[in-house]
Amino acid sequence: MAPDDAGQGPGGTETELGRLRRSLERERRARVEAESIAERGLRALYEKQQETLLLEAIAAAANEATSLRDTLQLAVDRICQYTGWPVGHVYFCNAGVSPALDLVPSTIWHVAHPTHFDAFRVLTEATPLAPGKGLPGRVAINGQPAWIRDVGTDSNFPRAAGAIEVGLRAACAFPVLTGPHVTAVLEFFSEATSEPNESLLGVMRQIGIQLGRVVERTRAQERLLYDAFHDHLTQLPNRALFMDRLQRAITRRTRYPRYTFAVLFVDLDRFKTVNDSLGHRVGDELLLEITRRLTGALRREDTVSRPAPGAGPEDTDNTLARLGGDEFTLLLEDIRHPSDAVRIAERIREVIAVPMNLGGQEVFASASIGIAVSTSVQGSGEDLVRDADIAMYRAKGLGGDRCAVFDATMHHRAVERLQLETDLRRALERHEFRLAYQPIVSFPDHRVIGFEALVRWQHPEQGELSPAAFLRVAEETGVMTRIDYWVLREACAAARQWQTRFPHDSPTSVSVNLSAHGFGRSDIVRQVADTLQETGLDPPILRLEITESVAMANAERARDILMDLRALGVRISLDDFGTGYSSLSYLQRFPVDTLKIDRSFVVGINQNEECREIIRTILNLAQSLGLEVIAEGTETAAQVHYLEGLGCRFGQGYFFSRPLPLDEIRALLLRGADDKDGVLILPKTASAS
């Protein structure tokens, strides 16, 4: 069949036919053109719809995501599905960690055929990239998606050979952006070379922003979680995290009985002094410096220690925590022997001992360290920390700047002490304190010139306790000041009664001891003044006794306080004199009335020439300064005789009288009132027994 050659007819028809043909041809072309426009439109619409579906799926996942990793995995899968590209992968950006490791390959992959791309996978996971290097590096630096037509001809694609080997040619990548920061790069590979697809790059840019929201949110969550388990100042684990790690160590020990660990309780000595004298800012700096030194010391330890059995890689580090204040705890995992813990503790003391410069000031720090080893206990984490704490207190009790290893007897002592502390706090409320009064006597007539008020604790279970049994705990717990004030009030009230009931020309004085704490209180002068006013006691009758060592500890301040007290009209005695290394120049300027020779010298009179020499010196000193001297602890006639011989005029001790309860003092005073001269003489028979 031949083509139909139309237009053979008469001229007019031919022209008409030709015109119709051309017209038909135009219509045909217009239809084809219209169809192809429609086709392009449909194709664009289809792609737009697919893009929208992809974006919606990723946005929805991003909204609900709790794990960044899961969301990235989903994004890689969906994008590969959408593009039909067989390989997708994620690089993480660790800006600032190390320049060489800025882009770290993740293990998040999409691969179309399970094993076909294995070689490329292995290569990629062994290829961290510097900024600017390779496709991910370029994206990380520009913050923009990028496209490689063919990795085989690209000049900056280090993995090219590996990619080509498995048949990958075109590549594209886009950044996950949080604000201006690139936190990850997603890369995709096609088996065919391919020209850049601007529309796809646009979609990827948007996906990157969606994923960035997940990064921000999970980071915020991680931050919250981190804050809940870390100390704000030092960023060290806090108590909660420490206890968690400790519990894990205990659990591990139940599974691996040879696994040994230790808890170190590190407490800085005199940290409060640093805080008080140099300010909290310097105190914080000190804690930060200590943290740096401890972590540094432990890092060196870690490099020689081995991982714990059954432990994941994150468990191998020793845990240093800050419990608060200047208290640090350290969990040493999998030590070979308890002595390892002691060695590390000594190492810690060494690094702390190096002087540090804080705020232009050279500061010397030291620490007391308590050690509890897992072999010694079967208890809970709390028990172990408590044991280390007790051992630390033991180290402090021995003067600080040392280590102590917990043993069970410490626990007994600690419990006893805790009990004593508890009882002591209640003793005042329960009126368990009593005063005894020991007469102070003049030589040679044995006339009573005054009484020293001595506190006794009538313990509900242990019976009467002298201050020696509870003084230290009372001072450490701050109860001592309250006891001081109670004694002061009680003694003043008693003395006032005696004054009223047994008026006398030269009334007997009452001596009250002030502890270091009581004397150190800023309100001590007001307390004394108030007490005098409330009890109505004639001030000169009250003698306040402070020990020589307390007075000399801060002599300038002591002098000021003593001046103020003297201004109230009361008299001042320096107790335990001879033991406190007085500076003579201070002594001259102290407003003191009486020196009380420490009992240790009096007791030594018979055996020790040195004691006798000291007593002679004190008496000479007192004479030249115009001070009275009272010898404490006089127990024998020989001592009294010797003291009298040196010109000592007053004494106090069992030779004359033991401390007497209030009712016996009343009886004594009553007898004195019967005396025609009103002179109170101790009956010879009652003494020296």
Binding site: M1, A2, P3, D4, A6, R31, V32, E35, S36, A38, E39, L42, R43, Y46, E47, G84, A192
Partner: protein
């Protein structure tokens, strides 16, 4: 069947035999012939036109379909050059049918029923190509393959080793490139 198939058929018939023949085929098949590439039309219309052409040309329907496929390829190559230019050989081109060309077809013609081919490239120089479709248009596929080979200037030997028309459950083409 999508309208584009009718458009291609018309273009080829008109090109080779003239407008009148196409008009005659339409009349004989009893269809009105207004096809737009984007529309969908009953399969019977295509089969009717093919049968009419076979009668008119004194040829078998299979021959008509094969000739149609072979000639249609040249038109498609002119209209959609990107699918042809991106590949270097007939085999490479055929291998993109499932993953590239047919997905693209579906983007433009939602709901288009395109066949899925299976390929075996394990023997060098030989492509085993499987075809399965209720329309049993293996002759058209044969023509398309030949048209593609013409486009790439590659001579080939085509062996229709299994055929649904001969009772096989699918068609298998053994295509050898020389």
């Amino acid at each position: 069947v999508k309208g584009i198939v009718f458009n291609l058929l018309e273009a080829i018939v008109v090109q080779q035999h003239g407008d009148a023949v196409w008009e005659a085929l339409l009349d004989e098949a009893g269809v009105d012939g207004a096809y737009t590439s984007l529309g969908s039309y009953p399969d019977e219309q295509l089969f009717g036109l093919v049968a009419a052409a076979a009668r008119k040309l004194g040829s078998s329907e299979a021959e008509v379909l094969r000739s149609f496929g072979r000639n249609a390829m040249a038109i498609l190559a002119k209209r959609y050059p990107e699918f042809f230019d991106s590949q270097v050989s007939t085999q490479a081109f055929l291998l993109t049918l499932n993953d590239i060309i047919h997905p693209e077809v579906r983007k433009i013609y939602p709901g288009a029923e395109v066949p899925v081919f299976d390929f075996d490239t394990s023997s060098p120089g030989v492509l085993m190509m499987g075809y399965r479709s209720p329309r049993k248009l293996c002759a058209l596929a044969h023509g398309f393959v030949e048209g593609a080979a013409q486009h790439y200037g590659e001579p080939l030997t085509f062996e229709h080793s299994q055929c649904m028309h001969r009772g096989d459950d699918r068609c298998v083409f053994r295509i050898a490139f020389n």
